[in-house]
Each structure stands twice: as structure tokens, then as C-alpha cells.
Symmetry: C2
Subunit: 227 residues, 2 copies
DNA sequence: CTTTTTTTGTGATTTGTTTCACATCAATTC
DNA sequence: GAATTGATGTGAAACAAATCACAAAAAAAG
């Protein structure tokens, strides 16, 4: 049987996120220059891997001189398309939606939630500085702000229907917090964030860890479950 | 250079989560029996992969008869250690912590947030049905409920310090919402949930998608960025 | 200015994962 | 009840990712 959809979020891209987190931290500490092994030590990947990843994204350093932290961060900004602003809409202003709408890091990274939407008239008022609209204004706002990416924080039961609507109006990528597998055409990017699964996988590994009594089986140990 | 920490959350385990999500949905629709290709169609992986994954976790079906959905779900419960209850603590009752504390799915899956904690006396009162304690009672509660897993939703600046405290009191696994790389001993499981990164990776792929004009380069297309 | 040291960048090699291919089994058909 | 059909389960083959190993470059030392 042939596979129709495929996993294409590359491990190397995930590690680029990791390197950046690390670089941000180092920069705050006043560091200006890093070597592949600096990043390696901090992140737990090998220095070879760091360089291989950089080479994949065409990031070049200086032979013997390592990498300038600012240049590196700048190149990463480019990779993540953060030179320009990205307008986002958020659907569902319940518990999760409200928390997300108040999260300042998104805006700090040029990802602006320009509007939020909810079906419940009770929630359609200004909270957290971002307007809450009724669903009837969705198309208008998406068009006006040229929005391409949405955050979906509605109950499971409504997730598919709202996703369909978003896609009809031109949304091309969705971060979906509802624990359902959305059925969409393959030219739409869906990123499912399933917090139950995240918690469960920690439990899974903790149980596993407890079974290898005396920590004899070091093969099974690890620090971070993702890159 | 040798790698000290390694990625061990296996793709196969991630896909088991995916299969389960799918099975839950099918069960609700009244389906009782599935074949490897049923799951394959629903999830976008190949039927071979489904069977290989099952074989890794020692899940057996019936030749020609496929798999009984209930048996399958039961075996997965076992894999995720959900026969017994898992007690969880949640640290940081700000925006994110509050939303999480109100999320009923955790309890539905036997993951009980038995207590929440905050440094701010103002937040130390009952909200959302779960008590909010001062940090001074952390050890007591962890001991009393035999808690092994924590959710960390405090500001970045405090994340490391609180993580250290948790680990000192016996916590073995942490779901960390703060966008910082925690430094911990390798026998502690850290699962970083970085929502900025999740959003950014969608933006990354949407931009990529827009560049392959006319959708000619189908190689680049995909439905779900993770398994 | 030559040698040594240090670090990058990348083919070659190894290791890991997915797909293929088919033997095996059990239900169904004839 | 023999033959056919339609599934599983799993080694073998193909593919992908990570590690190794070393040439190339540049800085530092002599
Ligand atoms: N709260 C959490 O911590 C949490 C954690 C993980 C996942 N989730 C998931 O996120 C989603 C939202 O969770 P929540 O806790 O915020 O739920 P919630 O019930 O508090 O909020 C849902 C919001 O969506 C709105 N809504 C419902 N149908 C809608 C529609 N068709 N169009 C627009 N808006 C609609 C509701 O009015 C409500 O305000 C759920 O799918 C949930 O499973 C929540
Ligand atoms: N709000 C979101 O949507 C969101 C999204 C992604 C990530 N995060 C991350 O989650 C964390 C919390 O975010 P938030 O928006 O809820 O922030 P917040 O400021 O609303 O809440 C933080 C809470 O932690 C408490 N706290 C601070 N120091 C503490 C300590 N040492 N011990 C115990 N409690 C302490 C504070 O009193 C506050 O109640 C942050 O690291 C943030 O980056 C938040």
C-alpha cells in the first residue's frame, strides 16, 4: 500500500528551533560567538549534527572562528519568515483561547493575533486587548488582514466544521488544539497540539524509567523526548 | 563527538497515539472491527506501517479478521499505563495554568491534577475546583499523593528553579510550557511544549507551500506535520 | 613566513526506519 | 472439504538519518 500523505517536518527543522532557543539564552548571557560544540553541549545533539543541520539550511560559519550569534539568529529569522509580520486569527475564546490570546510571546515574535472569534455572543466583547468577533465576520477579517494561519481552540465537536470554514476563506495552516484528526485537503497544513498526549507520553516514559530499577539500563534514559 | 542524550520518543509510539485517536473516533461511529488499512486510510500512514507498529508493541490481530477495536483500545491503555490513576501537580496558575486546570480531558483519561501551586498569594484560593496551594506545601502534597509527574506553567525566569525543586521532591517527569531548555539530570523526563514553535512551524510550511506556485511540487505537500 | 592548532563543511560509512514481498493463516466460496 | 480470497506478520530490501573521518581553511604560535 502506498502512502499518500507524508511526514515532512524534518528533524533538522525541529532542531533549528532548539538551537535558536539555545542561542537566545546564550545571547542574554552576553555570549557573542558560538561553536558547533557549544550548541551541541547545550542541546544534547552532536556537534556533527549541528553542522550538518546548518549546512542543510545553508548556514555557513567561519573556519576556526565558529558562528557569530547575531548572524546565526538573523539567518534563523529568515528561515522562519519572521522579517514580515504574520497575521493570525484565533477561533474559540474559551479557557484555552483566552490564555493564548493573552500570550505576549506570539506578538514578540511577529505573530499577531489580529482578531479572535467565538460563536457565543457572551464572549464577543473586548478581552485581553484583542477584539472578539462573531463568526459572521470571519471572512471579512481574514480578507482584510490577509490572514493565512489560524489557531483553532473550539470544542472537538465543532473543530472539523470550523476548520472547513477557515479553509474555505483561504486559511492555509491551522494549529489545532482540539483532539480530533481533521480531514482536510493535502495542501493545508495542520499542526495538531494534543496536550493529553504530551502528558501521557511523559507518564509512559516515567513508568518505563521506574521499571529499569537501579537505573541499570542506561540505554533507556534520555533527557528530552523531542529534539 | 559522542551524543550524550538521545531522542527516544519513537515515531512508532507517536503513531500509536494517532491510531488511538482514530480508533476512539471510529468507535463513536459504531465501528467494532478495523483492518490495518482502515487505520491507514484515516491517518495517512501505510497499512504496512500500522502492522509493523503493532508488532513492535506486540499487538496481534486475527488473520483475515483484522483487529477488534475494543481489544485494540484496551491494549493501548496498557501501553500508556492508564489502568491505574496518575496523580499530577500543576505549578503556576496564570493564564495557561488556569486553562489547563479547567481541562476535563486530563481527568477523563485518569490523569488527575490533584493540586495546583502558585507563588502569588492572590491566586491561592479555590478556582476551577482544584485547590491552589502556596509553594511551601509542594513537598507535602507530592508525598501524600505519590506524584511523579508535574505540569510546569510558570514564567521562563522561574522555570529552572521550580523544576529543580520539583525534582528534588521526587518528580520524575515534567511537561514544560515555559520556552526554556531546562537543565536536568538525564534520569528525568522533560517534555517541552513550545506553542510559539508550533505556530512558527505552521507559518514556515505555509510560506513554503505558497512558493511552490500552482502546487506543482507535490513532493512538498503533506497533511499533518507530525505523526 | 612556516608550522601548529582549531574548527568548519561534507563525502563515506554506519545505523535506524520504512516499504516491499510473501509465507501464513482463517474465513468464504464452490 | 478443496480452492479461493483477503487479511496478518515479519524477514529482506530500499531508503533516510546520524555519525564518522578527514580535507580545507583560518587563526595563532613559533
Ligand atoms: N483548556 C485546556 O487547557 C485545553 C487543553 C488542551 C486542549 N484543549 C482543547 O481546546 C479546545 C478548547 O478548549 P477549552 O477548554 O478552551 O474549551 P471551552 O469550552 O472553554 O471553549 C470553547 C470555546 O469555543 C466556542 N465555540 C464553540 N463552538 C464554536 C464554533 N462553532 N465556532 C466558534 N466558536 C465556538 C465556545 O463558545 C467556547 O468559548 C477543545 O477542543 C479542547 O479539547 C483545551
Ligand atoms: N498563556 C499562554 O497561552 C502560554 C502559551 C505558551 C506558553 N506559555 C508559557 O507558560 C508559562 C506561563 O504562562 P502564563 O501566560 O500563564 O503566565 P502568567 O504570568 O499568567 O502566569 C504565571 C504564573 O506563575 C506564577 N509564578 C511565578 N513564579 C513562580 C514560582 N517561582 N513558583 C510558583 N509560581 C510562580 C505566577 O504567580 C503566575 O500566576 C510561561 O512560561 C509562558 O511562556 C504560556
Amino acid at each position: 500500500m502506498k502512502q499518500i500523505t507524508k511526514k515532512v517536518i524534518k528533524n533538522s527543522l525541529k532542531r533549528i528551533f532548539l538551537y535558536r532557543a539555545c542561542l537566545v539564552k546564550l545571547k542574554l548571557m552576553g555570549v557573542e560567538k558560538v561553536f558547533s560544540y557549544t550548541l551541541a553541549n547545550e542541546t544534547g545533539v552532536t556537534s556533527d549534527q549541528v553542522r550538518k543541520d546548518f549546512s542543510e539550511f545553508n548556514i555557513k560559519g567561519n573556519k576556526r572562528g565558529g558562528y557569530d550569534i547575531n548572524v546565526l539568529l538573523e539567518k534563523m529569522e529568515k528561515i522562519f519568515h519572521r522579517s514580515k509580520d504574520n497575521n493570525i486569527v484565533l477561533i474559540g475564546m474559551g479557557n484555552m483561547g483566552l490564555a493564548l490570546s493573552k500570550y505576549s510571546k506570539f506578538a514578540q515574535r511577529n505573530m499577531n493575533i489580529v482578531a479572535t472569534f467565538d460563536i457565543d455572543p457572551f464572549k464577543q466583547k473586548l478581552r485581553s486587548g484583542i477584539p472578539v468577533y462573531s463568526m459572521s465576520r470571519l471572512k471579512e477579517i481574514i480578507d482584510r488582514f490577509g490572514v493565512k494561519v489560524a489557531i483553532l481552540a473550539v470544542p472537538e465537536i465543532s473543530a472539523q466544521e470550523v476548520a472547513d470554514e477557515l479553509i474555505r476563506y483561504g486559511i492555509m495552516g491551522i494549529v489545532n488544539f482540539a483532539p480530533v484528526l481533521l480531514k482536510v485537503s493535502p495542501d493545508v497544513i495542520i499542526n495538531n497540539v494534543n496536550l493529553c498526549d504530551e502528558l501521557e507520553s511523559v507518564i509512559y516514559y516515567v513508568h518505563k524509567l521506574m521499571k529499569v530499577d537501579g537505573l541499570k539500563n542506561l540505554e533507556l534514559l534520555y533527557r528530552d523526548m523531542k529534539y
